[in-house]
């Protein structure tokens, strides 16, 4: 990237490798265009159908933002990995596994919560590295390798939980996390004063009874959303503004060509597997810290939710193409649709039908946009 920047600084000589594009077209035609259209469409749709259902009240906004943020956290990892040309189907199992690791260490073994969280991150990113290493060494499709990890981790999680505590749900993490220095980073809420102030002025609703009477319904911005934003910004900068970002694109686009050009493809891919595992662990930690318990069946099918978000966001399943902003918008679309259908009062068994239709529309639209960008036929 920096090299191109230098090249551009010598203006008169035009680089014949860079195609000139009209400004408007350049601004419009980007991988996330489909996701932007989708987001607008989805919001207009729900604004028309579910406006007076509380969906756009403070509590409603918080509800679908939290769900979208959850999707975004795992989608960012899946997005970078997918651009690097690989899949990780073990995300959901990793979430369950990481949660149980934290709960087992902190509640059953009495470790301090901060140590348990750090241990979970170390173990899980390590497992991510194993995933990546296996894919690189065996040359097998990551689809198969991580499918195996999906089963292994889920089985191990259930076994570990039952063997040590005879239960599949381990509670008591909230009490263990009392006074811990690291836990608030995952469980707290920020801007509480601001929301209280809005509540006092009657701009947002307050609780009408009970011990929390007078406190605003929305207490603050959950750390879950903060983490999602941090992750999206970080990954976006990594992907578009750094040399490593170019490596990611190159590894996914054509690994062999990238190797000839001196890109450390193996290292890049393994790091991306680790990053995906990191995102899954982050998801699990946030969930365990918020709810105070870990369940061996948590995170079921989350890998597909991550992949769906990324695909809605315009990334190519075969790698080498996509955008983090697109994936984040894909997560937003997914979250808004999932919760919005409840607000609109649609029979919940129809949720999957809507999801399928949106996925199909998104892929068709994205394919069309991609052809416009790359000029492929």
């Amino acid at each position: 990237m920096s090299e191109t920047a230098e090249a551009n600084e010598t203006p008169p000589v035009e680089d014949e490798r860079i195609k000139e594009m009209a400004g408007f077209r350049k601004a419009m035609i980007r991988p996330e265009l489909g996701a932007i259209c989708g987001t607008i469409l989805v919001f207009v749709f729900f604004f028309l159908t579910a406006r007076d259902s509380g969906m756009f009240g403070p509590a409603g906004i918080l509800n679908w933002s939290v769900v979208s943020a959850q999707f975004a956290i795992i989608a960012v990892g899946a997005c970078l990995l997918m651009i690097a040309g690989e899949f990780d189907l073990s995300v959901g199992s990793m979430i369950g596994f990481a949660g149980i690791v934290i709960a087992l260490l902190s509640v059953s073994l009495g470790w301090p919560v901060w140590a348990s969280i750090i241990a979970a991150f170390v173990i899980c990113t390590g497992l991510g590295a194993v995933n990546g290493w296996l894919v690189i060494k065996t040359g097998l499709p990551s689809f198969i390798v991580t499918l195996a990890t999906l089963f292994i981790l889920r089985g191990l999680t259930i076994f570990a939980a039952i063997a040590t505590t005879r239960k599949t749900i381990i509670g008591g993490v909230r009490d263990a996390a009392e006074g811990d220095w690291l836990a608030p980073i995952f469980a707290g809420k920020i801007f509480k004063g601001f929301f209280q102030w809005m509540g006092d002025h009657g701009w947002i609703e307050t609780f009408s009874r009970g011990t929390r009477e007078g406190m605003p319904v929305v207490e603050g911005v959950p750390m879950l959303i903060v983490w999602a934003i941090i992750l999206v910004v970080f990954a976006h900068i990594l992907l578009t503004k750094t040399r490593f970002g170019n490596w990611i694109f190159a590894s996914g686009g054509d690994a062999q060509a990238a190797r000839y050009a001196g890109v450390p493809v193996n290292k890049t891919k393994i790091l991306m597997f680790m990053f995906t595992a990191f995102c899954a662990t982050l998801f699990a930690t946030l969930q365990v810290m918020e709810f105070g318990s870990a369940g061996a069946d948590r995170g079921l099918l989350k890998e597909f939710e991550a992949i769906i978000s990324v695909v809605i966001g315009g990334a190519l399943l075969t790698g080498g193409y996509g955008s983090v902003v697109g994936a984040a918008l894909g997560a937003l679309v997914f979250g808004v649709v999932q919760q919005g259908l409840f607000f609109a009062g649609v029979e919940s068994s129809l949720f999957r039908v809507f999801l399928g239709i949106i996925l199909l529309l998104a892929v068709i639209l994205n394919t069309y946009i991609r052809r416009m960008i790359t000029g492929e036929r």
């Binding site: 259902s53 509380g54 969906m55 009240g57 509590a59 409603g60 918080l62 509800n63 679908w64 939290v66 769900v67 005879r166 749900i169 509670g171 008591g172 909230r174 609703e205 609780f207 009408s208 009874r209 009970g210 011990t211 929390r212 009477e213 319904v217 969930q287 709810f291 105070g292 318990s293 369940g295 069946d297 948590r298 995170g299 079921l300 099918l301 919760q339 409840f342 607000f343 009062g345 029979e347 919940s348 068994s349 949720f351 999957r352």
Partner: protein, 314 residues
């Protein structure tokens, strides 16, 4: 004649007015949130229950569940339900840690909450719910014990296939207390393996030939116990009761091997909360206690209805 006509007319007017007094606003909206994944067929009864209640009372009841059964997703659904401002929420309390926060928030927002099926009356009170509608296991066992005592039972064998669950032990303890005897060693830890259960039952009954009755806690322990009784010739002779229903259990009730099966009656767990919430919203009336949807005793007499409505309302 004219008198009769006037009387009739008066009666008709009276009837008409009494029919057309909508002193309440119809169309309340309630949300039932369950913890069951889409594929769990048991909950179909629940859906039919709320549909029927909604139809009869003129209210809307929406059914929501996490598609994969993920309880963390369920917490989001409760938050969502609260944000949509329904008149009331009916929910299960499958995991107290995960769900208490969202439920307490809903209660604090002024939404009436009833806990159904999972959880305990104590937990329901703690989160601020109006009541608990379900089958408290100890009470169910106690009622079964009283019934057995009336039938002349004074000793029993409780086949506990899930000894680590407090609810299972509550069932046996309740039964013993209902009979008015010590539980003592009359409860055996049978394990989950069918042949193991069968052999343990056979061994216990040959070592304790005076045993009057057998109590099993579900299809897992009932089915092998039926086999055991067929093998030692006590089938139909010994008093046999069980919790929960299954196809083998229904067959055994029909053939007289099992005297009764205890049904927790999911239909009532769905139907009654809607009735309670609607009447609370319309007239401000509220029953003063938790509602036990079970134990409903299924005997040979009531079997026709069970078979007819199995999977629909039973």
């Amino acid at each position: 004649m004219k008198k009769t006509l006037t009387a009739l007319a008066a009666a008709a007017t009276l009837a008409a007015t009494s029919f057309s007094v909508p002193a309440y606003a119809e169309g309340e909206r309630y949300v039932l949130v369950s913890h069951a994944p889409d594929s769990d067929s048991w909950w179909n009864t629940i859906k039919n229950g709320i549909d029927l209640a909604g139809e009869q009372l003129g209210v809307t009841v929406e059914y929501r569940n996490p598609p994969t059964g993920d309880l963390a997703d369920m917490a989001r659904i409760i938050e969502q339900a609260a944000a949509s401002k329904p008149n009331g929420i009916i929910t299960t309390l499958a995991d107290f840690d995960v769900l208490r926060g969202p439920i307490e928030d809903a209660v604090a927002q002024g939404i009436n909450v009833i806990i159904m099926n999972s959880g305990t009356p104590e937990q329901a009170r703690e989160v601020g719910a109006l009541m608990y509608v379900g089958q408290p296991e100890y009470d169910a066992g106690f009622a079964a014990g009283l019934r057995a005592k009336g039938d002349g039972v004074s000793s029993f064998l409780c086949v506990n296939h899930f000894i680590s669950s407090p609810a299972s032990t509550d069932r046996c303890q309740g039964f013993a207390d209902g009979l008015g005897v010590e539980l003592g060693s009359q409860m055996i830890d049978s394990g989950q393996d069918p042949s193991e259960i069968k052999n343990k039952v056979l061994a216990y009954l040959s070592a304790n030939p005076d045993t009057d009755a057998v109590l099993t806690l579900g299809p897992t322990s009932a089915d092998p116990t039926i086999k055991a009784l067929e093998e030692n010739g006590l089938a139909g002779d010994i008093y046999f009761g069980t919790f929960d229903l299954g196809s083998d259990i229904v067959e055994a009730i029909k053939s007289g091997v099992i005297q009764w099966g205890i049904d927790q009656q999911p239909f009532l767990q769905a139907y009654l909360p809607v009735v309670v919430l609607t009447n609370l919203d319309r007239f401000g009336v509220l029953p003063g206690n938790n509602i036990n949807s079970g134990p409903g005793f299924v005997t040979n007499d009531g079997l026709a209805l069970v078979e007819q409505f199995a999977g629909e309302f039973r």
